[in-house]
């Protein structure tokens, strides 16, 4: 039953999937891990990104990843705008978490329902030359439709890590979590920094969305499966640690892949929750947490 072929390919599929999960989660690592904003609407933006990629790809035949890169500034502005509303309505007044959570839940909900109204509940998918073929290496099978998103995700992670470590804005973002006063004294406005950070967080969903629809067909309620995954990865990886997020994403991808291979794919959504609960119960600081 445990043939080597099956195991090694489940492992590969898991790693590739994990790479993609990292792309999905990196935005939340910034908004939740660094800014302490529980944006549970994050998956909704990803689905939005998927649908945009779908429209442009079907109408104009452009590669979905290219579409997403073009959409980066649009999603960035969307994120900045939402942060502004969030800040004015909630953060400024120190309102209890309940309202902020309800706000994002409302956004999640409204987005999903609007997508249902516009696109219906049929599954949508994109066309690209790398969807379909696989790259074989001996017994190892690398489906390109998983490999390309994984590599793109890692590239995005690399770019973000460079931004956060080497640019002024990036380091200000890392700092805003720890010491707002010092930031102010340096002449940077914490609100502006947070707005930029949240904008970046939502911008990542443009890319994540395109990657999602490459990997699997998408319909509006798919986002809900990802809420558990995203926060499970965030918590497992340690809030605020980008490398931790990538490692945790790989881990979850591998666990899900093995579960799907040996127990059946319909159990996959439950895996993330199990991981989340176990992590919260035993090691809430995560693997590499602050």
């Amino acid at each position: 039953m445990f043939s080597f072929d099956l195991v090694i390919n489940a492992l590969i599929a898991g790693i590739l999937l994990g790479g993609f999960y990292a792309a999905v989660t990196i935005g939340v690592s910034i908004s939740f891990g660094i800014l302490d904003i529980v944006n549970i609407a994050h998956p909704a933006f990803i689905i939005l990104g998927s649908y945009i990629a779908y429209i442009v790809n079907t109408r104009l035949g452009i590669d979905p990843i290219v579409v997403s890169v073009v959409m980066l500034p649009v999603f960035y502005l969307l994120g900045a705008g939402i942060y502004q509303v969030y800040y004015e309505s909630f953060e400024k007044h120190g309102q209890d978490a309940l309202r902020g959570l309800s706000f994002f839940f409302g956004l999640l909900f409204v987005t999903e329902v609007m997508l249902i109204l516009v696109f219906g509940v049929d599954y949508r998918y994109v066309e690209a030359p790398y969807i379909g073929p696989s790259w074989r290496l001996g017994v190892m099978d690398f489906p390109l439709r998983m490999l390309v998103p994984c590599l793109t995700a890692l590239a995005m992670f690399g770019v973000l890590q460079i931004i956060l470590s080497y640019t002024f804005i990036g380091r200000a973002i890392s700092a805003v979590a720890q010491d707002q006063l010092a930031l102010r004294l340096m002449g940077a406005s914490p609100t502006r920094i947070k707005r930029i950070a949240f904008g970046i967080s939502i911008a990542t969903t443009a890319v994540a969305g395109a990657l999602l629809i490459i990997i699997q067909p998408v319909e509006p309620s798919v986002g809900r499966e990802y809420i558990g995954r995203v926060f499970a990865i965030c918590v497992l990886g340690g809030l605020g640690s980008l490398p931790g997020t990538v490692i945790a994403a790989m881990l979850l991808g591998i666990i899900e892949s093995f579960t799907a291979t040996f127990y059946g794919p319909s159990w996959a959504p439950a895996v993330a929750f199990g991981v989340l609960l176990l992590t919260l119960a035993f090691r809430p600081a995560g693997l590499l947490g602050r």
Partner: protein, 314 residues
């Protein structure tokens, strides 16, 4: 007003509602009314945890569906009268609420909220994979046409749900006025200061989660009989999650009156909208109202009325 008196008045009002509905002589009133009553229970239950302690439950559907599927399970394994099924549904949901609370309530409120969301997905996955209760194909529950003493079966279900409404608002109101209510409020206002003042916050949060989950499970228990054919997508439907939150937030979270008002208003609105427009649009409206109220009127309708009355008093 003492709780006993309130209970009697509620029962009296419920009786008036029931006999009034019978006089209309149209079963549709009972079918639509059942849904509104169900939402009153769900909204009130949600508010005991969300409004009073400030811990948000995004997975109301999970507890509701647990009650519904417990009924399906027993219907197949060991048929029982509905009131007993309601009690069992309450116990099962209460235990799950307690368990999940124990795992997540020692951490920040945000983690609890996320866990509830994930719980709904997981339970749905479990149910979809469990053929005994129908799995993804669904389960048929044949309901009798009539029942002794009352007449049409739907009226019996309506009556049961009325009873649950009376129970849930009495419990909510009792909590508000009791020492427990103070404890809940301190958790919502400032959990750290609450602990420092001697409030056993974890224990109280677990109490709230258990009561809230149990009531939601009780609301779900009669549902298979109401709907006849139960599918995971309808039991775990989106409308339960958003309505359980929107109704108390729009009605007002600080008192038992809020969820009642919110449920009656929004519930009726949705019944009308579903018939005239589509059900997706009506959910959209609820979602938009939620976002609007959260931003503009955070204390809901009750808060607006209180503010207006305070303004007039000056």
């Amino acid at each position: 007003m003492r709780t006993r008196v309130f209970l009697l008045i509620s029962i009296a009002v419920a009786a008036v509602v029931f006999f009034g509905a019978r006089m209309v002589n149209n079963d549709y009133v009972f079918f639509a009314g059942y849904t509104v009553l169900q939402f009153i229970v769900l909204a009130t239950a949600w508010n005991i945890l969300g409004g009073y302690t400030g811990y948000v439950n995004f997975g109301s559907a999970a507890f509701f569906a647990l009650g519904a599927y417990t009924t399906v399970f027993f219907h197949k394994a060991f048929p029982m009268p509905i009131p007993i099924l309601i009690a069992i549904g309450g116990v099962v949901s209460g235990i799950v609420g307690l368990g999940m609370g124990y795992l997540t309530l020692r951490l920040r409120g945000a983690f609890f909220a996320i866990a509830t969301l994930a719980l709904a997905v997981v339970l749905q996955t479990l149910v979809v994979n469990w053929d005994y209760v129908g799995g993804s194909r669904g389960a048929y529950i044949i309901r009798p046409n009539d029942i002794a003493w009352i007449g049409p079966y739907i009226q019996y279900l309506f009556l049961l749900m009325l009873a649950l409404v009376v129970i849930s608002i009495t419990i909510a109101r009792w909590i508000e006025r009791s020492q427990l209510g103070y404890g809940f409020a301190t958790i919502r206002d400032d959990e750290l200061a609450a602990e420092a003042s001697g409030v056993p916050t974890l224990r109280l949060k677990l109490v709230a989660t258990t009561i809230s989950g149990a009531l939601m499970g009780m609301a779900g228990a009669p549902f298979p009989y109401y709907i006849g054919y139960l599918q995971p997508s309808s039991a775990f439907g989106l409308e339960y999650a958003v309505n359980s939150i929107a109704m108390p937030m729009i009605g007002g979270t600080t008192s038992w009156v809020g969820p009642l008002i919110g449920a009656i208003l929004l519930g009726s609105l949705q019944q009308i909208a579903t018939v005239t427009i589509s059900s997706a649009v009506n959910l959209l409206i609820v979602g938009l109202l939620l976002v609007a109220f959260v931003i503009i009127a955070p204390n809901g309708i009750v808060g607006l009325v209180q503010g207006w009355m305070r303004g007039r008093a000056k």
